[in-house]
């Protein structure tokens, strides 16, 4: 069978593949232009830094979600997990009682460890229990959420040591060379995430698993290990996000992290990662998280739509993102 070169078709395909990767960046540029036209205050450095800082928690969580979703899984528990980790971390700090750097370090490590443990639990139940990740994480979402309500006895868990609060505060409010720490944290997490997903064999295995689990299994990919690891990475990312989040308010409540899972999934999907797995775009995810926050910011700065409708607009965005993905996919 001979296959002659068909330049037109190859070009067309290349163009549409690029479209998928590029569309979140194009959307970002369009939003920035729109924002600048609507309100001159939008394009100031302080406003933009503020927007990106606010998007940091979701972006960091969404980087982890990129691994889970690219591997063909789903994690609905991240919002509740964040609340639980925040609560446990504050309680740990309060119990240690000190106001020094050592105490803080122990608290931070506890947060990361708990995140990894929660992810491990999700991963093991999904792999060894052979239950749909949707159901598993729906279950753990309820468990984590009610644990934090129980720990807080329905109220608020607050950092009691004043010195410690002052020590910890700059992690959210501080900056180096004018760049706030949360932005640095999220760029580092994204860079490490991209490195792992694109350049290691583990990352390749995640994509293979999400593309077709059977092919991965028949190719000798250790699918249980790979899948469990994606959930652990998700848990660690949630832990890191909490580290940046806690100093903002210094407390955890039963409503901390509410609906973060939906925002994280939205960011991942806007970023071009395929919800059915097999394609993962870390930088797209980062842009997706920023877009979500930008939309909210533009709505606050403009008078077209009430800012109470932010959730509705974000909901519409995920649907539009899916429609765009599908039409790009068909164009192949």
């Amino acid at each position: 069978m001979t296959e002659t070169v068909l330049p037109t078709r190859a070009e067309k395909r290349k163009f549409s593949v690029d479209m998928r990767a590029l569309s979140p960046f194009i959307a970002l540029i369009v939003l920035i232009i729109a924002g600048a036209l609507i309100n001159p205050d939008f394009l100031t450095a302080s406003n933009l830094l503020n927007v990106v800082t606010r998007s940091a928690f979701i972006a960091i969580i969404a980087v982890g979600a990129t691994f889970v979703i690219a591997g063909g899984g789903l994690d609905l528990s991240v919002g509740s997990m964040a609340a639980l980790i925040a609560g446990v971390m504050i309680l740990t700090l309060n119990n240690l009682g000190g106001g020094d750097v050592g105490t803080l370090a122990v608290g931070l490590l506890a947060a990361i460890a708990l995140g990894a443990a929660c992810g491990l639990a999700n991963g093991l139940i999904v792999t060894f229990g052979r239950i749909e990740p949707f159901i598993v994480t729906l279950g753990t979402m309820g468990i984590f959420r009610s644990l934090v309500i129980w720990l807080a006895a329905g109220g608020t868990i607050t950092m009691r040591n004043f010195e410690l609060r002052e020590l910890y505060r700059p992690v959210y409010f501080g900056s180096v060379f004018g760049i706030p720490y949360p932005i640095i944290a999220f760029l580092v997490v994204a860079a490490v995430g991209a490195l792992i997903l694109y350049r290691t064999s583990f990352g390749r295995h995640v994509v293979a698993l999400g593309s077709n689990e059977d092919v991965a299994r028949y190719s000798g990919v250790p699918i249980w290990r790979v899948r469990t690891l994606t959930y652990i990475i998700q848990g660690i990312c949630v832990g890191i996000a909490v580290l940046v989040y806690v100093p903002r308010l210094g407390s955890a409540t039963p409503t901390t992290g509410l609906l973060w899972e939906l925002q994280a999934i939205t960011a991942v999907v806007i970023g071009g990662t395929a919800l059915k797995g097999g394609i993962g775009r870390v930088w797209g995810t980062v842009v997706g998280a920023v877009i979500l926050e930008l939309v909210a910011n533009i709505m606050v700065l403009s008078n077209f739509v009430s800012e109470f409708l932010v959730g509705a607009v974000q909901g519409a965005i995920i649907i539009i993102a899916m429609l765009v993905q599908r039409s790009v996919h068909r164009g192949r």
Partner: protein
């Protein structure tokens, strides 16, 4: 005699590849017209065009002498042309009656009328000479019964032309015979039957006329009178059969590398034992569903299994494919698209997936080394691709198989198990794959070929082990290799005897 459906100069191209060129065919009422040809000859494409699943690129169809264009299979059905698919396309959790009427439920006051549908289902199944319970779930039926349900579903609509696409691939000779009964009954009712197969003995038993396709071209249309299977084979292959298969390398040694004893895969295989020697090509024959695939998936750890597997002088038990690969055993699945390749990923990612450890330096993948390996694979395995950025799913079946071979050979295995190596592969590529398999044996590797094509087993293998109903029932040494010997072991019935049974029913 006037034809009911006529195809005139039909051509079909997929992209730059022409798979059918200038085919003409006429179907008369009350005849069984067989279309034969090797895999990749274009039989299935022709059938899909005649039944409205595909539009022809050139040429046209005539129904009762009038030119006609079908907008799709539903339109073709409305004109009385129905196709019985090769694969079973039924909803497994629905009952037989629910499947028969799926999408065309009988309604009463807006609600489905289960009673009426059950009655109609029972009637039509009885007409087909079977006693399948209409209330049984399809998942609990045997493959042969599922095929009958599929036929019943096709015959439920008023039909003038019924097309069967390789209907006996999953049937035992006895089951096939009851299918021929149904076909003869259809013929006596004045229906035109189009029968696609590459099993020549059954074509001889059931057909009135035969059209031969080869490499997408029309070779001949003959009456069955005076056309013997041997002549059909000559027309189908169009060349000396011995040229298709390479010389069998004289490398089969006495050194046993793999011994399998009392292997059991729950639900599929019991008590399977065999040995494999260095430099040998060992064939595994049997009907589809005999448990060959499951046996080897059990051995390499892709299914749970019990039994003793001795590699060299060591007992081994693999828990997953990774362990088997580490021990030097690779298994190439028959389901290339579902289990062999990531269709949505490019060639490079597919090629290195199983042997990724060979491409990592430190913790990172060396993409440059991957690209070099792809260059080598494209050259060594003659993978024909118009661009190296293509996705695996955009390659033709033959090139996908070559890519899968290249992928698994990166693991440098000692034992290679290839399941249906040439399914869906065109004849030119077949020859290349056969030569490649022979060269593996010549290099001293041990090769196992699982195939449902008798000719392939005979032309390629040193020995053939035959399975039936999940058991190893015998072994045919090189000197005795013949289609009849394999068929006898695979079915428990001599081919002549099956033909006699067929003749007795006619």
């Amino acid at each position: 005699m006037d034809s009911v459906l006529r195809a005139e100069n039909i051509s079909k191209s997929f992209g730059p590849i022409e798979v059918l060129s200038g085919i003409s065919l006429d179907l008369r009422p009350g005849e069984v017209h067989a279309v034969i040809g090797e895999n990749g000859a274009g039989k299935s494409t022709l059938m899909r065009i005649l039944s409205g699943h595909l539009p022809p690129t050139k040429g046209g169809l005539h129904l009762n002498g009038q030119p006609i264009t079908f907008s799709g299979p539903v339109d073709a059905e409305a004109h009385g042309i129905v196709l019985v698919h090769q694969e079973i396309l039924l909803a497994p959790d629905l009952t037989v009656a629910q499947n028969l009427f799926l999408g065309r439920e009988i309604r009463r006051f807006g609600f489905v009328d289960d009673k009426a549908m059950r009655e109609r289902a029972r009637a039509i199944l009885r007409e087909l000479g079977t006693t399948i319970d209409p209330d049984r779930e399809v998942s609990r039926l045997s493959i042969a019964d599922r095929q009958l349900v599929q036929i019943a579903r096709a015959l439920l609509v008023p039909h003038k032309v019924v097309a069967f696409d390789e209907p006996t691939a999953v049937l035992t000779p006895i089951e096939a015979e009851s299918l021929f009964e149904i076909i003869r009954k259809l013929r006596s009712q004045g229906v035109a039957v189009l029968y696609i197969s590459h099993r020549l003995n059954e074509v001889k038993a059931v057909a009135d006329r035969v059209t031969v396709l080869r490499d997408g071209r029309h070779i001949a249309t003959r009456d069955i009178e005076g056309l013997e299977p041997l002549e059909m084979a000559r027309l189908m292959v169009g060349r000396d059969m011995s040229k298709l298969y390479p010389e069998k390398p004289e490398t089969a040694s006495d050194q046993i590398v793999l011994t399998v004893r009392d292997m059991a895969v729950p639900g599929y295989v019991e008590n399977a034992s065999f040995t494999l020697r260095r430099g040998e090509i060992l064939g595994f024959g049997g009907l589809i569903g005999a448990g060959r695939t499951e046996l080897f998936e059990g051995i390499v750890g892709l299914r749970s299994s019990q039994g003793t597997v001795t590699l060299d002088d060591r007992n081994v038990h693999f828990r997953d494919a990774r362990e088997a690969m580490a021990a030097g055993i690779v298994y190439l699945s028959e389901d290339r698209k579902g289990k062999g390749l990531l269709l949505q990923q490019n060639l490079r990612i597919n090629l290195s997936l199983a042997a990724l450890d060979k491409f990592t330096s430190g913790s990172f993948i060396d993409v440059g080394a991957e690209e070099k390996a792809l260059d080598r694979a494209i050259k060594d395995f003659d993978i024909r691709t118009r661009s190296r950025d293509l996705l695996a799913g955009q390659l033709s079946g033959g090139n996908q198989q070559k890519l899968l071979l290249a992928k698994m050979m990166l693991l440098e295995p000692r034992i290679v198990i290839i399941d249906e190596p040439t399914r869906g592969v065109d004849i030119g590529t077949k020859e290349q794959i056969y030569r490649f398999i022979a060269s593996l044996a010549a290099e001293g590797k041990a090769v196992i070929v699982i195939s449902s094509e008798m000719q392939e087993l005979i032309g390629l293998c040193h020995r053939v082990v035959v399975m039936r109903n999940g058991r190893v029932v015998g072994e045919v040494p090189q000197a005795d290799l013949s289609e009849d010997a394999i068929v006898y072991l695979a079915t428990g019935v001599h081919e002549e005897r099956a033909a006699e049974i067929a003749a007795g029913h006619a």
